[in-house]
């Protein structure tokens, strides 16, 4: 029966049966009275916008693109995609300097890396924070991610030969965060994969996945990055036959889903070979590979499922790996948004809403009182660490800590 195929609407919006279920799960609607909510901003609004773009509502910018509405919708309406693509199509206001700065994660990284200690000092200073608050409307209550002195790319390049010696190889899309802010996560991944006999390669110059550009009204730049990234991913996947692993759930969702759905960039040649490292590792173990764990590792771990991981539907792999470590007391936290949503929570106008969204999660973390919060997303990490004081670690780094030397 082909009829349905021909009648499928953009992001499935005509499947909406107006049941309002999505409105019950939107974290922004709970705290921000200016936001129309997923149903109105998504399928309801789309009908009007198709009639006349005049109906485009600028309050759509409050959507954090967390995708929880999509996960909840019983009718398969891609609500968040509808909202983000409406912003791409109809919102032609120029992004503010602040938004451009926040969105340019790799540019910020490149510029600041050589002077990292200075930048870290400066962004940590009260006076700098209030200046950023006043001039750029970046909220002064935020703590900033630290920049690292030596990039991950440089580090891995200096280990190229040893890595090439491993019998099995993967390529690693490390993302801006690992490269500039937290190379240790990349090094942990290398350690864990090496323990399974797998060597790690860089891609032929990846660029920022562009997620922050999409939500900050810079879709043209994002599309350029997408086209570039797909080309370098193809070199690894198609030419060399490699699997590409990642350690950030948001980068992964962007490469796998946002490129085709929002930017119209075809990724079908690489889509199925792009995996979160946790999934790749789990599958290696299922195929018979084995880890040797320390016997003296004892940690109470609470795992938080980031929104984009929930949308990918892959948290089960991280969960299973963590549960597998001897000496781990594991708690799965209720699936709830932490409120940061990438660059969303950094903006002054969103600070209060962002913290209010996260409060139930923070409350639960405090009551579980774990040694470590585990989570596959770097922005959740900043938000949860700043708001609760608990340290948040990527499951890959926890595995690395738990391995016997």
């Amino acid at each position: 029966m082909k009829l349905q195929e021909y009648t499928e609407s953009r992001h499935n919006f005509e499947e909406c049966m107006k049941c309002t279920v999505c409105t019950a799960y939107c974290p922004v609607l709970q705290v921000n009275p200016l936001y129309p909510g997923p149903k109105q901003a998504g399928p309801d609004g789309e009908r009007l916008r198709l009639k006349d773009p005049w109906f485009f509502n600028y309050a759509l910018k409050y959507c954090m693109n967390c995708k929880r509405c999509e996960v909840a919708c019983p009718s398969g309406v891609r609500v968040a995609d509808l909202i983000q693509s409406a912003r791409i199509r109809y919102d032609h206001t120029k992004p503010k300097l602040r938004d451009r700065i926040l969105a340019s994660t790799d540019l910020m990284g490149k510029l600041t890396r050589p002077v990292a200690p200075v930048v870290n000092g400066v962004t940590g200073l009260k006076i700098a924070k209030s200046a950023m608050d006043a001039m750029l409307k970046i909220d002064h209550r935020r703590t900033f991610p630290k920049y690292s002195g030596r990039s991950f790319e440089a580090w891995l390049r200096s280990h190229e030969k040893e890595q090439a010696a491993f019998p099995k190889q993967v390529a690693y899309f490390h993302g801006c965060y690992v490269n500039y802010n937290h190379p240790d996560l990349g090094k942990d991944l290398v350690k864990v994969l090496n323990a399974l006999g797998v060597g790690v390669q860089l891609l032929d110059h990846e660029k920022c996945c562009g997620i922050a550009m999409i939500t900050n009204g810079m879709s043209e730049q994002a599309t350029r990055h997408a086209v570039h990234n797909i080309a370098v991913l193809k070199k690894a996947v198609v030419d060399k036959g490699l699997t590409v692993v990642t350690t950030s759930s948001s980068c992964t969702l962007t490469l796998r889903e946002e490129y085709p759905n929002l930017l119209g960039v075809d990724n079908s040649a690489v889509h199925d070979s792009l995996l979160m490292a946790t999934r790749y590792i789990y599958e290696r173990l299922e195929a018979g590979a084995k880890f040797r764990f320390r016997t003296d590792f004892h940690k109470k771990i609470a795992y938080h499922v980031p929104c984009h991981m929930e949308r990918l539907g892959w948290s089960i792999f991280s969960e299973r790996l963590l549960r597998m470590i001897p000496g781990v007391e594991f708690t799965l936290l209720d699936s709830a948004c932490c409120g940061i949503a990438g660059t969303y929570g950094f903006k002054k106008e969103n600070y209060e809403a962002s913290q209010a969204v996260g409060e139930p999660l923070f409350e639960q973390i405090r009551s579980v009182n774990p040694d470590i919060v585990a989570c596959d997303c770097e922005t959740c990490k900043w938000q949860i660490e700043m708001s609760t004081g608990y340290s948040v670690i990527n499951p890959i780094s926890i595995l690395a800590q738990a391995l016997a030397e």
Binding site: T23, A72, G76
Partner: protein
């Protein structure tokens, strides 16, 4: 990835199955594309004329408070329906004439609670009604926003300010013996409806609202939490797209999010709901079950699918997946040995198991018993 049992569909039938199996020591996973019919739940479990102890234990274990009083419940439109097993905050009456004088309370800006329909229906039964609309500054913010004010948004506020609502009602009460409130209390804190009843010096009846249903969402959250505490897995937002069948048995299922990573299990339960949840799908020529292509019982003549008189019992609502006595799904007339079918996807093909929530719970338990006795 391997489990003892994989359940497709995370509504009432899927959750009851998952919790029971997990309690019996199985490793189970539920996979569910979206939310389910509990989001429209009235608060009363249909066709539960008798309640097995195991059902009560399951609810108690999940922290869901129910009561059993065969009689009638009040609908959002002011009519009455037979009901027996219900959530504690859904009132049940021996007869529709349950009070003399009633105060109906709603909130300014909340349009999903039809006070005048209620009053009309109740007055027909000989009860007198007075309607009051409370102006609460806490709700004004919601009302001024561009979004529709739905039950769940109100409920989030009410979890914080219910004590104030109690005070306002005390001030409003004259000689009424009963107060009716919209069912927007106790979304997170299940004790709130009970505490409101204690605080108001009249009988408090909570009446259903337009969806989403606050008591239904609460019930769903508690069941899901219970499953998680027991160590079960709930894969939210993923969809089973097809199955790998080997030698007349389901070997594994393929899902949209996991792609090449199949979910394997000894047994499978199909609890994907009815048309509403896309457990059953239609096109102009047929009604089909999309995951396994199981046999569906329906009339070949499309004109007989529906009754043009809208309010009549609609034939299509009776259609459902064909099963054998043990609830194995049938494929081209043959049972699939390790696949059990439960919940509203059965339509009315198994009248012995009841309808609505009763069917979901009973069929889940039949499936669970089969699996555990294997």
């Amino acid at each position: 990835m391997r489990f003892d049992t994989v359940i497709i569909g995370g509504g009432l039938a899927g959750l009851v199955s998952g919790i029971s199996l997990q309690q019996a020591g199985q490793q189970t996973a539920i996979i569910s594309t979206g939310q389910n019919a509990l989001h429209f739940f009235s608060g009363s479990f249909e066709s539960m004329q008798e309640v097995p102890k195991r059902t009560l234990d399951l609810f108690a274990g999940a922290g869901i408070r129910v009561h059993y009083n065969p009689g009638v419940r009040l609908t959002p439109l002011g009519t009455f329906r037979e009901a027996a097993l219900s959530l504690e905050d859904t009132s049940l009456f021996p007869t529709p004439r349950f009070a003399d004088k009633i105060l109906i309370v709603s909130f300014a800006g909340y349009l999903d609670f039809f006070t005048s329909f209620l009053a009309e229906g109740l007055e027909k039964q000989g009860m007198s009604c007075r309607i009051c609309v409370l102006n609460l500054p806490e709700l004004e913010k919601l009302e001024q926003g561009p979004s529709e004010v739905r039950s769940v948004q109100i409920a989030r506020t009410m979890d914080r300010i219910w004590e104030k609502v109690v005070q306002e009602i005390r001030a409003l009460l004259r000689d009424e013996d009963t107060v009716i409130l919209p069912q927007v209390f106790g979304l997170q804190d299940i004790s709130v409806p009970g505490r409101i009843r204690q605080g108001v010096p009249a009988r408090v009846v909570f009446a259903g609202t337009m969806p989403p249903s606050v008591p239904g969402i609460r019930t769903q959250m508690l069941l899901k939490q219970r499953l998680r505490v027991l160590g079960g897995t709930y894969l939210m937002g993923d969809e089973a797209t097809r199955a790998n069948i080997v030698d007349g048995k389901v070997h594994s299922i393929v899902t949209r999010n996991l792609g090449s990573h199949c979910l394997e299990a000894d047994n499978f339960i199909l609890a994907t709901g009815s048309y509403f949840s896309k457990g059953l799908k239609t096109n102009p020529f047929s009604i089909f079950e999309p995951v396994f292509g199981l046999d569906v019982e329906y009339d070949e003549d499309r004109n007989r699918w529906y009754d043009p008189a809208f309010a009549n019992d609609q034939p299509y609502m009776n259609y459902g997946v064909r099963t054998d006595a043990a609830l194995h799904g049938l494929h081209k007339g043959k049972p699939i040995g390790n696949l059990f079918v439960a919940g509203s996807i059965l339509g009315n093909t198994r009248p012995d198991l009841g309808s609505g929530a009763g069917l979901a719970i009973r069929s889940a338990q039949v499936a669970v018993d089969q699996i555990l006795s294997l």
